[in-house]
Symmetry: C2
Subunit: 295 residues, 2 copies
């Protein structure tokens, strides 16, 4: 299968899954509609696709990861809904559409985010009957760890505290490895649980996820300077406007591009070393996609 | 054991548990401190005590429910943190102390709430090793169901939508049975899972939880009229100020007191019928406590 076709199929699969799961919810309408609005918004579905590709390389069936991929994407979406709130980034647009709180109201935005986060744990436990209970427990444990104070929320808090301050590269790395990185590792590690990966496979795949997580964030910072509104769906230069520390602002634009390229090369190499070039095809192309994307 | 002694012991036990679990968290400091501030604030710990008493009446060890009781109390606390935000109830005080967002800032308040909710699922899976994996999965499923759109968040949304409107008694019942009721049923049903209750025991105990949940809310509405700031820890008449529908505003103060008493009597009777008067002692006194409390 071609890479672009794989991306499209993965996106379709997970969006169908999320739509099915969320269509079970109807009341109160504003929460049910808001949850769908926040998740089914044209996202890249990078986290679900990472989960599917990891299942693939481990020889397991994509469908086995559908509930987990959907739940992780819902957690990603809730974090964006809360990030966009007036008290945080105060963003009116995301991917060219009104943010959830602008569309439904601020109180509603808070509750829609809470509902997405809460319901993701329902999906993990309710829609994973094909997995042993012990695997479901491991997945919930990992998810709540990587999405919480020791993961995504921790990174988000450091991000907020760093606004308007000069921070060093170590703080920047901590921030990104937690704010963005943990939720990119999560689908890879969940896929390892679902497919009963060996420790060595898990170690390699987790390292790969760390590296592409880093690459993803460097690229994000570069796009905030070089991208355009139509492609990235938010105002260019918003990091600068919010006085945020970024890779370009700390190590410079050219060094950031160099670091991005080296990081992607390393990610590709460790996967090839473990799984061979043929089986690694999709994960290689995913790493390159992260380097070359324009949105 | 005397009832008051039981309340104190249960409160101490769960507060020690929560303190231990949250003391594992240190970074970012504002989130770690904020989580403790929001939970360890002198609450009544009604939900944990309900869980302990249900384990007791089923002949199971209180310690077996410690992680679950702590997690449920953290979910209750997160909901209060988000309820108090400016976009929702905009309350500056709770139990006589500054609300979490007033103490730590609004963005921080949102993230502290998110972190409490997320970490509660970590505790349910990480600290329940003494339970079979299948029981942990059931507990997570129930918790995410009762705390989410079909439970607490659903009720909260209807509450917000009802402000400044005349609502009927059915809508009021829906609102409370979801906003408050589900999280009072949750510890009872979790205790039934932990103690492997029979279906009949579970049915009785769930019905009891429904009834005292209703009683709790009627009493809350009455206290908002008849209580005093020092006891209830928030301004008296704040429901009126927010133009909220309450039992007294819909059926009148005297009828509310009558309904409260009848509800508590029914709760006591069904427990006595199932478990006999001796074993029912604590749950009987808990129902009476809810009727007679002044805070």
């Amino acid at each position: 299968m071609l890479f672009n076709e794989y991306l499209q199929n993965g996106k379709k699969l997970v969006e169908k899954g999320i739509d099915d799961y969320l269509s079970e919810l109807t009341y109160p309408p504003v929460i049910a509609q808001g949850m769908k609005y926040a998740v089914l918004n044209g996202g890249k579905r990078l986290r679900p696709i990472l989960l599917f590709m990891t299942l693939d390389i481990l020889g397991s069936d994509m469908e086995k990861g559908l509930a987990t991929a959907s739940a992780i994407e819902m957690i990603h979406s809730y974090s964006l809904v809360h990030d966009d709130l007036p008290a945080l980034d105060n963003d009116d647009y995301r991917r060219g559409k009104l943010t959830t709180h602008k569309k439904f109201g601020e109180a509603q935005g808070i509750l829609i985010g809470d509902a997405l986060l809460t319901h993701s744990f329902y999906i993990l436990t309710q829609k994973n009957n094909h997995l042993p209970a012990s695997s479901i427990v491991e997945i919930v444990k990992l998810t709540s760890d990587y999405a919480g104070i020791n993961g995504m929320i921790g990174g988000q808090m450091v991000d907020i505290e760093s606004e308007g301050k000069k921070i060093d590269i170590e703080t920047l790395k901590y921030m990104h490895s937690h704010k963005t990185g943990k939720l990119l590792k999560l689908p890879v590690e969940c896929a390892c649980i679902i497919a009963s990966a060996t420790n060595k496979e898990k170690e390699t795949l987790t390292k790969y996820a760390d590296l592409i997580g880093l690459a993803f964030q460097i690229k994000d910072d570069i796009l905030d300077i070089e991208g355009d509104f139509e492609s990235i769906g938010k105002p260019v230069g918003s990091d600068l406007e919010h006085d945020k520390s970024t890779y370009p602002s700390i190590i410079g634009l050219e060094n950031s591009k160099k670091l991005l390229h080296e990081t992607v090369e390393e990610a590709k190499n460790i996967i090839i070393k473990e799984f061979g070039i043929e089986k690694s095809s999709m994960l290689i192309q995913l790493a390159e996609y992260i380097e070359n994307r324009n949105k």
